[in-house]
């Protein structure tokens, strides 16, 4: 009874765990993408993840748009500086970014003004 099997597995696993599994499986299929957990600062890297949070800061001087992505192993930030339009991104989209990996003010991993691409992710298709 596959139906009952999945029923009991659902009960034993939290939704967050299932989601992280799915995300890891998905990034493994993208060529060249490094899991966030294995990133090292000050190296060029290519990372794929699903956009979890978008932060828009229009204040003068520091105007920036940030997307936080997760890939099931960790999270990191793609930050675009000096933009007054959204770079065509939305919550839940799959994002592939490439650039020099740095560390932000709060210890988070950041790629500034990355080259980016939207990719079909396992969740929105």
């Amino acid at each position: 009874m596959a139906f009952l099997g999945s029923f009991f597995r659902d009960l034993s696993r939290t939704p967050e765990e299932t989601r992280a599994d799915n995300l890891r499986d998905w990034t493994a299929t993208i060529r060249g993408a490094v899991p966030i957990a294995e990133l090292k600062p000050r190296e060029r890297a290519k990372v794929a993840g699903v956009i979890q949070n978008i932060r828009i800061d229009p204040r003068e001087g520091s105007g920036s748009i940030e997307a936080t992505i997760i890939d099931g192993t960790g999270q990191m930030v793609a930050r675009w500086l000096g933009r007054d339009r959204m770079p065509g991104i939305g919550l839940g989209m799959g994002l592939l970014i490439e650039g020099m990996c740095g560390v932000g003010d709060e210890g988070e991993l950041v790629i500034l003004n990355p080259e980016y691409d939207l990719v079909a992710d396992p969740e929105t298709g």
Binding site: I54, R55, I56, P58, M86, I89, G92
Partner: protein
């Protein structure tokens, strides 16, 4: 949500699904066929019977007409399906008759189609469940007296399955649908071969006396035909459900329609042929007779094991036919909600990506119908067909208009087909309304305008709100910023009151006063906060009114741009939701203050276990992070932002919990265009529980209420008519419930008063 409810929800509804899992809820053809065809196929279980019922009133001679009548009905079915294939190809986004009529014929025909369909779905549930129960009682007559209870049990079962979500329902529903088709074919094949190669079986009712009640008239034949057209019910379901098909959606939906029509026509003609050959009689006023299909099955299989299989499968497919409506009613409601014709709550997908509110409403309405009509199939069915044929006619007429406008290659031929279909169904609609009017159809004909009027007024409300929110507000122009005036409501001198004082001090308002109804607090208050003058209200009679009057008097002294905030300290005994009900007076007071013009409400909750006697709560916290909850960029948001700016906060940020990618992008661009000088964070709420997402977000600040405070500012709509309040989401309520028990969190409601008619 408490842990127990969470576990219960998971056991009965399954684990919550991330919205990205939508793709997985799309149906492949093999499953879509049973899910969407259970309705049209199941009507074979009673269509022949309803036609026979009419024909029997003219005596034995009438029964012979069942075959020509059935052929006419089957032809009609073929016409409608051919025409509907064009609709699903033109409208891959679904919406069916409503979409087509609304786009091509205008608002009123659109609303007419929508009302007809909604009523149709409710009736589909009521009729199918009733017929299913009848199939059971045909096999086991002892159950007859419990039929309403059985019907309710089935409604409960189907509702639960649907709250779990589309696809699992699909797998489960595949078995009875395929089983029903197989066993009916087996019955037809056995019956036909027995008639051809031997002697025809004879039904148990063949010898019933048939005194002619009416003369055989043209009107009567029309009535029989109209009754037989129940075989067409459910065709509209596939057109409405295209978005649930797997890609390529239109093609798959069109194929499914064809297969469904072929199955349905052959089954219907087969059953009618056997009804004729076995001389089944079915009478209107006879209690305790078995259904026509039951009688045929019993005769063909000589009452053996297969008879029970036919009954079981009929019951099963009928119960599950109700499922078709469970797919479509919520989906159509959500489309209507998106178009602002129904309350926006119908757009909310539940934990399992199902439009839960629609599912629940459907269950309740159909249950009511079953009780009113005492689970009597023949009486319920009289109401059924009007809605179905209105939607057929409007949808096909809409297609004609669309083809005329687009003029694609070969449009004339296709338009002629749809036009022919529309004319035929239009004529049948008139026949149905005419022949069934007195028998119950009038109820639907009266109900439809009510539905239309309701949707129209909902739409008018939403558009006037939208206009009002978008209207340029003097707020955005250059002028003096609003000053903050705060009034602390002192019920007693407790830790929550002391903390309120600390929080208020950190906000550095232009002026702070306090108000109490208890004269006993005055001297203690002077020791606590010498600089804050305390006004004592008499406390006699209605405290709410006195407070309101006090605030109204204060309001008149202020500039219109100034803020007047009532600060309500609240000491909670536990972190249980029951706290909300423990002080109904305070809850009502807060609600009443929300509607007071120009007054904002700052709620400072504190749970007793946070009390630490060594801490002076009246000292202002060092940091206050202000979060403004945002759902769009409009006047209510701008007002809340300006309120936040008056609080002298450590930092201000706007936060929104969105889920669909397009809306995040639009909101981001609007935010940048409006030049609001604060950051906006758009946070995923992957399991669509805004309260929980907000709670998790707040927790990252580690607020303790003493050194660190989080202030959640919520813009709220207040409408002038109380009944309109239901049209505005209860998001604020959900949010308040979640922040109430969070340590160090205070909540501000900034009402935006809508003045629309």
């Amino acid at each position: 949500m408490s842990r127990t409810t969470a576990v219960l929800k998971r056991i009965f509804l399954g684990r919550p699904m991330h919205h990205g899992e939508m793709e997985h809820t799309l149906l492949p053809k093999t499953i879509a066929l049973p899910v969407f065809s259970s309705d049209p196929l199941s009507s074979n279980a009673y269509a022949t019977q309803e036609a026979l019922l009419v024909l029997a009133t003219v005596g034995a001679a009438g029964l012979d007409l069942i075959q020509p009548v059935s052929i006419a009905v089957a032809t009609l079915l073929a016409i409608v399906v051919t025409s509907y294939r064009q609709t699903v190809q033109a409208y891959p986004t679904g919406g069916g008759a409503y979409r087509v009529a609304h786009e091509n014929l205008g608002m009123y025909p659109g609303l007419l189609a929508a009302s007809a369909l909604l009523i149709d779905y409710v009736l589909t549930v009521a009729v199918s469940i009733t017929a299913g129960v009848e199939a059971m009682t045909s096999a086991s007559p002892a159950l007859h007296e419990h039929k309403i209870i059985i019907a309710f049990a089935f409604i409960g079962f189907v509702t639960l399955m649907n709250l779990r979500g589309v696809k699992e329902s699909g797998t489960l529903f595949a078995i009875p649908t395929y089983g029903f088709v197989l066993v009916i074919y087996l019955m037809i094949a056995t019956g036909v071969s027995r008639c051809v190669f031997g002697t025809c079986p004879v039904a148990e009712s063949a010898d019933l006396p048939l005194p002619p009640e009416h003369a055989l008239t043209f009107f009567l034949i029309l009535r029989a035909f109209a009754a037989g057209t129940t075989a067409l019910t459910g065709v509209e379901a596939i057109a409405d459900g295209v978005p649930a098909f797997r890609y390529p959606q239109s093609k798959n939906a069109a194929k499914t329609l064809t297969i469904m029509a072929a199955l349905s026509i052959s089954m219907f003609l087969g059953i009618s042929w056997l009804a004729d050959q076995t001389h089944v009689v079915y009478l209107e006023h006879l209690e305790e007779q078995r259904s026509v299909v039951a009688q045929i099955a019993s005769a063909v299989f000589s009452g053996g094991f297969l008879f029970y299989v036919v009954q079981a499968m009929s019951a099963a497919i009928l119960i599950l036919a109700a499922n078709t409506a469970y797919q479509d009613f919520p989906r159509l409601s959500s489309i209507l909600a998106k178009d602002n014709y129904m309350p926006h709550q119908f757009m909310n997908r539940g934990d399992r990506l199902v439009f839960s509110n629609g599912v629940l409403i459907l269950a309740v309405l159909s249950g009511i119908l079953i009780v009113i009509f005492d689970a009597n199939l023949t009486r319920l069915i009289q109401l059924y067909l009007v809605g179905v044929f209105i939607s057929f006619t409007l949808s096909q007429s809409g297609m004609v208009m669309r083809m005329r406008k687009l003029r694609e290659a070969g449009w004339r031929k296709r338009a002629a087909l749809s036009g022919f279909g529309a004319t035929v169904t239009g004529v049948v609609l008139i026949v149905i309304a005419w022949t069934k009017f007195q028998r119950g159809a009038y109820i639907v004909i009266v109900a439809i305008p009510f539905f239309m009027a309701a949707m129209w007024s909902v739409n008018r409300h939403y558009s006037s709100v939208k206009g009002e929110l978008a209207r340029p507000d003097p707020r955005t122009a250059d002028r003096r910023r609003g000053h903050q005036h705060m009034v602390i409501y002192v019920q007693r001198l407790d830790a929550a009151t002391a903390r309120s004082l600390g929080v208020v001090r950190s906000m550095r308002p232009a002026e702070v006063t306090a108000v109490t109804t208890d004269p006993g607090t005055a001297s203690a208050w002077r020791r606590l906060a010498r600089e804050v003058p305390l006004t004592t209200l008499s406390g006699q009679g209605n405290v709410r009114r006195q407070l309101r009057d006090h605030l109204a008097a204060r309001r008149t002294e202020l500039d219109e741009h100034d803020f007047l905030t009532l600060v309500v300290p609240e000491l909670l005994q536990s972190r249980n939701l029951i706290e909300v009900f423990r002080r109904p007076g305070l809850t009502r007071l807060k609600a009443a203050m929300l509607t007071a013009p120009g007054v904002q409400l700052l709620n400072v909750p504190m749970v007793v276990d946070e009390i630490d006697p060594s801490i002076d709560e009246t000292v202002e916290p060092a940091r206050n992070h202000v979060l403004v909850l945002v759902s769009g960029v409009h006047n209510a948001t701008l007002q809340a932002i300006e309120y936040a700016e008056s609080l002298h906060a450590t930092d201000i940020r706007a936060i929104s919990f969105g889920l669909d990618p397009e809306r995040t992008e639009t909101l981001g661009n609007l935010w940048l265009e409006a030049r609001i000088p604060h950051p906006l964070e758009i946070e995923a709420s992957p399991f669509r529980d805004i309260g929980l997402s907000l709670r998790d977000y707040i927790r990252q600040f580690d607020a303790d209420g003493v050194n660190q405070v989080v202030t959640v500012v919520m813009p709220e709509f207040v409408v002038s008519k109380r009944r309109h309040q239901i049209l505005h989401g209860q998001t604020a309520l959900v949010v308040k419930r979640h922040v109430l028990f969070e340590r160090g969190v205070v909540a501000v409601s900034v009402p935006y008063h809508l003045h629309q008619s």
